[in-house]
């Protein structure tokens, strides 16, 4: 699967999210910025992202996806 496709999938299904994806075609890393993460623990944040690409994870078109999740605020703080 292409990085650009995964970016579109997540941004399309996770409201008001900004996503950057890198990877080798099977193993991917994504940075996801979305205010819906606010107040959620790490597991819930990652489950939100995995939830919108459940089918693609289940059929192994995305074999692995490592996640870094931020709200807009925590992103700005991490990237002044």
């Amino acid at each position: 699967m292409e990085c650009e496709v995964i970016k579109q999938l997540i941004e399309g299904r996770l409201a008001e999210s900004e996503v950057e994806v890198t990877g080798d075609g099977r193993h991917f890393e994504a940075t996801v910025i979305c205010d819906e993460f606010a107040g959620k623990g790490l597991i819930q944040q990652h489950q939100l992202v995995y939830g919108v690409i459940k089918a693609e994870m289940a059929d192994d078109s995305i074999h692995a996806l490592s996640l870094k999740t931020f709200t807009r605020e925590t992103w700005q703080r991490a990237n002044p």
Binding site: I43, H46, Q47, Y50, G51, A58, S66, L67
Partner: protein, 106 residues
Amino acid sequence: MDIQQRIAAFVEEVPVVLFMKGDRMFPQCGFSGKAIQILDACEAEYETVNVLSEDEVRQGIKEFSNWPTVPQLYVAGQFVGGTDIMTELYENGELKQVIDAIQDSE
């Protein structure tokens, strides 16, 4: 007992358990291998379950935690996370704290 009940009983009974591909001597994937390294670095006493040996467990564990991949770490019956979250918790010292707290109370 169906697979979900079997998993629930097992994670309640074993303080620290890692569902992984392969075993600690022969991890069958990079992420499972990294999870083992992290647990060893925490000097944890833990059991592993090789999801490759039983397909029912391989699918059942993903449903149990609503998490699409393996490995999966459980401490005191609670889902802690996969390799990503284990790495982050290990790097900020939280993982060793959580595991030591369980093993001290044993």
